[in-house]
Subunit: 199 residues, 2 copies
Amino acid sequence: MPRPSTPLLSPDRIRSVALAIIDRDGLDGLSMRKLAAELGVQAASLYGHVRTKDQLLNDIASSILSTVDVSGFTVDWREGLIRCARSYRAALSSHPNIVPFLAYGPAGREESLQRLDLLHGALVDAGWSRREATMIAAGLMYIVFGSALSSFSSGFSSDPADYTDRYPHLDRAHLLPGVARELDRDSFELALAAFVRGL
Amino acid sequence: MPRPSTPLLSPDRIRSVALAIIDRDGLDGLSMRKLAAELGVQAASLYGHVRTKDQLLNDIASSILSTVDVSGFTVDWREGLIRCARSYRAALSSHPNIVPFLAYGPAGREESLQRLDLLHGALVDAGWSRREATMIAAGLMYIVFGSALSSFSSGFSSDPADYTDRYPHLDRAHLLPGVARELDRDSFELALAAFVRGL
DNA sequence: CGACTAACCGAACAGTGTTAGGTTAACTCA
DNA sequence: TGAGTTAACCTAACACTGTTCGGTTAGTCG
């Protein structure tokens, strides 16, 4: 089937189906052949629209990061930090399966740097030194990414029975999926609040 | 060369050479064939000593995590938290290339849980509720893993020239490898101090 | 000495990302 | 309208990956 009347593929369509596969089957569940099949096409055809799989993932990651909103610095910097972190976390947790890739790759991602730059500028305006501002922004990212990764990997499947035997202090309530998500969010909020308050 | 007089392989030797490869060539640089070659052996032979590659990585991860020291809670809980976090970070940053695997896999790792259990117990003894203790421990892990991941990925290779153009606020000093490590450590210490102080 | 196990090897399987070369539809321009 | 070019797909293959099967032999135990 050579050159169909209306093109089957476009970078946008590829990205969106790829992200759907990642959301459904996890990061390892995405292969070029599977992606092609789901697009009704052979694997090789993808390479006319996408330079490489890594690049594809990077593009997807960037498009996710670009939904982060850092425009909350009008009030004061503490509130701004908290809003920015929440927005980051929201973006990441909407597609948790891609977070390991995000964390794996270079942190020097275009979209990330743009937002860090804004954040940094706002902190400097608030009176922090450049170096302090960098470290504060880094600390914020620690909490955001640490939280995103932990929630991703909280797919516990231990047996709650011997769990209590071996770890008597730990509350086993967080093994329940529903509770886990809520606890994750509360832990994030607590860490964020403590961090900002402690500055 | 079937069944040599003295065995060439042992789980320990496999683990140690595998970790050396990871440290040298990164996580993706480890393949069973390469590992086998470096052990003077064929790939298939590994499977007499190791159930699967994933299991091998898990074992390595566990042995790294088991070097974490959480015995610093004798003084007060704040100091205990800080020491525990430092020890965790030290363990992770001694083998930064394996951190993505650690973060990827289930957080419910045996060695991790054992230490979290101790930490949790100490926090409860100090007067926190069980739920609060869980969240505090989680927050601490956010900072530890976030920091470990960021340092891993600080292998920036951007061009410092257009860097300043595009991100005017950001200090580009951290692009220098030596400074990056120091800044990473300082950011970690700042985040940790702020978090603990803010509790 | 014979049986058995433990340790390694060669070859293969199914899967991966990626490339080269071919085929044909759609577009461009005289 | 017709020729030439480009763009979009295909088939086939390459070099990998983790893993398994069946074989071969050295060491060990009865």
